[in-house]
Symmetry: C2
Subunit: 91 residues, 2 copies
DNA sequence: GCTTCCATGATCAAAATCGAAATCGCCAAT
DNA sequence: ATTGGCGATTTCGATTTTGATCATGGAAGC
């Protein structure tokens, strides 16, 4: 599923143009990105939680040289699936 | 950031009622949930990728008894942050 | 705005994943 | 059709993940 498909889903339910639907998707992802970059946590019950968290590991590896590489301090975004997405049965 | 705040962001940019804005958010999360539950991968460039993946581990723990608990086979949803969200500087 | 309801956080241990690097093919987005 | 983001690849060890249970605070309704 890609952006256009999400926009299509929106069009099928609400009376909006494709252009508007795409604007909506872009707007929401943009706002969420900004919030996460700002260190804010995003919680949408039933869907999941996005959470910026400090990166604790500090060692990586250079695939070419095989050398250990220092992983600079930073943060990573973690997504925790909500209840509805957690218990997925194997088909 | 919670659902209402996302809806507000939508209202601030597009001429929609709060009710409609909330509908939009619910609709999108619902569609995305369905896609993921259906085993579909969701890729939004610049934001991130949601991917259902088989759960490989089969052991959990009962917090009360401390006993190991068999975890039935299943899937879990993994979110991989896109480029814009990946390298977050430490403030 | 306030209240109710229910999803989420914490906890345990151990196995699995992540993280970085550089590069190319593939595909999402425009 | 063009652009450039994303997956995969390798290695190794520290971090994370994973479910059950209860209390709590966030989400939703009035």
């Amino acid at each position: 599923m890609i952006k256009i498909e999400i926009a299509n889903a929106l069009m099928q339910t609400l009376p909006v143009s494709k252009a508007t639907a795409l604007q909506v998707v872009d707007l929401l992802t943009d706002r969420m990105k900004k919030a996460l970059l700002d260190g804010e946590r995003i919680e949408i019950r039933g869907f999941g939680v996005f959470e910026p968290r400090p990166r604790k590991r500090g060692l990586g590896r250079n695939i070419k040289t095989g050398q250990s590489v220092e992983i600079p301090k930073g943060k990573s975004i973690r997504f925790k699936a909500g209840k509805d997405l957690r218990d997925i049965e194997v088909k």
